[in-house]
């Protein structure tokens, strides 16, 4: 029997099963090994899947052989093949290299649990991305979220505030998921189906009845919560600050991206252009909050003393960019969102890894502890520097490409104030990044701060630099991602009536 036709299912099942298995082995090393193997395998599978999508077009996999709409199907096109590869790729980089930081930050008897949770979380996110069924989506979201709450709480051995952060995350996450559930209920009520493709077809015929509109409202607000879109972003700042380093790195680079992916899926594929942008003012709603997110998130980032918190607020702003692009409702905007999605995942993952290295060596990641680390930890510092520049969107990083698309998209739509907001946002990014770099490179340790220890283990800076390499590649080679992104954006925007 050949496994090739089963690849879409395996992408979800491998980490899921691996997570379950790891939960049963009570051995830290073995757990790490299995988790690493599983994550790398999953990544390979997603790559294979992406190759297949590129060759064949949309890949549909009926779970258990039940055809849609009765059965649950996995449906992979260019867009979610990209996101799948991203999520699995980040996991494949972060999980195998997380051993040192996990050893430092998580109690020894919890290592197996840790890896099990991580894999379950990844499985949840992959499932969310791959599924073609709306209710299935809700369940998988909750799988990834529940594991994420637990993972955040694991940070308590370093700082008990992880617990309160986790609790807040749980409350907000659950409310968000519940809103999504209510919204799906209304849509189901109106269409009688939960298959996304099917739902899309039927919604197009309904022309926005009250039920449909209520459903759309619940879905969009629920997803905003899940994406941590301003003004419901507060949970993210806390969770990212206190979670174990590798968890933050993984979640910052994947969880919100999956949220954005789902939003794209709902807004473009399921609701369609007319329902989203003509009947409902989703574009205005999202644009307004995206702009606010960019400005307020960046301003808050400028104020922060703790670098992880700074990066978390920067994520709030970056999510603003992502949402802004998708709310523009054009191929340019969507391309911007997709490039930014990739770039921000790479950059933010790398930055949290580098900050993790500092935590590993210095015991914390406030400005105080980062002072002058460039002398002793040049590679970590380099990762912070390049990552910071990527956040700003300096030319030759992926961030610039996405910024370009977003500004062009806004101008194309005649929304020059939005373009200005995008640019002002990157200016504010300059402010917090340069402040950080000034401390890292030009700070004088010894008088105000502890003398830095040596360079952190390679398992911190090597993956960080690898990810940044990806960001730079994204920035200098339009061809690298251009094909996939253009296909995805074209399919979505072109699919609109």
């Amino acid at each position: 029997m050949t496994l090739t036709p089963q690849v879409p299912a395996l992408v979800v099942l491998v980490p899921l099963l691996a997570g379950v298995v790891i939960g049963l082995v009570r051995h830290a090393g073995l757990a790490w090994l299995l988790a690493s193997l599983a994550s790398v395998t999953t990544f390979a599978l997603t790559l294979a899947l992406a190759a297949r999508v590129q060759a064949e077009g949309v890949v549909i996999y009926a779970m258990g052989g039940w055809a849609a709409p009765t059965g649950i199907e996995l449906r992979v096109d260019a867009l979610n093949a990209l996101v799948l590869a991203l999520v699995a790729g980040m996991a494949a980089v972060i999980v195998p290299t997380s051993r040192a930081s996990v050893a430092r930050e998580v109690p020894a008897d919890r290592h197996d649990q840790f890896y099990a949770l991580v894999l379950l979380c990844v499985a949840g996110m992959l499932g969310v991305t791959a599924t073609g069924d709306a209710f299935n989506l809700y369940v998988l979201i909750e799988i990834s979220s529940l594991t994420a709450y637990a993972l955040v709480a694991l940070g308590r051995s370093r700082d008990r505030r992880a617990l309160t952060a986790s609790f807040q995350y749980l409350i907000m996450g659950s409310i968000g998921a519940s809103f999504l559930l209510v919204g799906l209920g209304y849509l189901f009520l109106a269409t009688g189906t939960l298959n996304m493709a099917d739902m899309a077809v039927r919604l197009a015929d309904l022309h926005g009845s009250t039920t449909v509109r209520t459903g759309v409202a619940f879905v969009i607000v629920g997803l905003s919560l899940k994406m941590a879109l301003f003004p419901v972003h507060q949970w993210m700042a806390d969770a990212y600050t206190y979670a174990p380093t590798s968890v933050t790195a993984l979640m910052a680079s994947t969880a919100t991206k999956v949220g954005v992916y789902i939003t794209i899926r709902f807004v473009y594929t399921i609701f369609g252009h007319e329902l989203s942008f003509v009947i409902m003012p989703t574009d205005a709603f999202l644009l307004a909050f995206a702009c606010l997110a960019i400005v307020v998130g960046s301003l808050q980032a400028i104020r922060q003393h703790d670098v992880r918190r700074l990066l978390a607020y920067s994520s709030v702003a970056q999510i603003g960019y992502l949402v802004l692009g998708l709310a523009l409702g054009s191929a340019l905007g969507l391309s911007g969102t997709l490039v930014h999605l990739l770039n921000h995942a790479l950059v933010k993952g790398a930055l949290f890894l580098a900050v993790g290295a500092v935590v590993y060596r210095q015991g914390g990641a406030t400005m105080h502890e980062l002072t002058g680390i460039a002398r002793r930890m040049p590679l970590t510092a380099a990762a912070i520097a390049v990552g910071g520049l990527g956040l700003i969107g300096v030319p030759l990083t992926g961030g610039f490409v996405s910024k370009w698309y977003l500004v062009a998209g806004a101008l194309e739509a005649g929304l020059w104030p939005v373009a200005v907001v995008v640019l002002v946002g990157s200016l504010l990014a300059v402010a917090y990044v340069l402040r950080l770099l000034q401390v890292v490179y030009f700070g004088e340790p010894g008088t105000v701060a502890p003398e830095p220890a040596g360079e952190a283990p390679a398992s911190f800076w090597a993956p960080a630099l690898l990810l940044l390499l990806g960001s730079v590649a994204l920035g200098v080679s339009g061809q690298l991602t251009g094909g996939l992104i253009a296909a995805a954006a074209g399919a979505l925007a072109g699919g609109a009536p």
């Binding site: 209710f135 809700y138 369940v139 909750e142 529940l146 709450y149 637990a150 709480a153 308590r156 008990r160 505030r161 617990l163 309160t164 986790s166 609790f167 749980l170 409350i171 659950s174 409310i175 998921a177 519940s178 559930l181 209510v182 209920g185 189901f188 009520l189 939960l194």
Partner: protein, 180 residues
Amino acid sequence: MSLLATGLFNLLNYWVYVSLMMIGLYAVIAKTNLVKKVIGLSLFQTGIFIFYISMGVVSGATTPITWTDAERLRLGLSRVEVAPERAAAALAAVEEDGLDAARAALGPLAPADAARLDELLARPYTNPLPHVLILTAIVVSVSTMAVALAIVMEIKAAYGTIESDEIVTAELETARAARS
């Protein structure tokens, strides 16, 4: 008055679900006790369950079990006064030509019986899908509760309290101590 009554009673299930959600959210917002917050969350989710369950209900519908026409007719005949041979003929006809032919074969009935039979034969079944879904959602909700309560326990262990304002005070003091 009648409009209000219609609105109130016809949409009763919605009112219930919305009320439950609001009560739950209120608890989440207003209560300082973390367990109460969790309970509020649970109430909130329960409201959603009601919404889903009521959504699948069709008044007067049968249970959502797959019936053949013959089985349905047999059930209907058991509820009305009808001659056995006509019943047999109808059952034969339904096998051959479907319900309409069977109804014709049955011949005239007492008006009350006729209406009852027609109602029985035409009655839809309730949609089972929402109920199935909500089973899953309940599982999710229970898991959420479990995780939430676990975290609350940990908070109690770490802070010695589950009152949010006391936790804040404790944190503030820690921060102040760290600063000085």
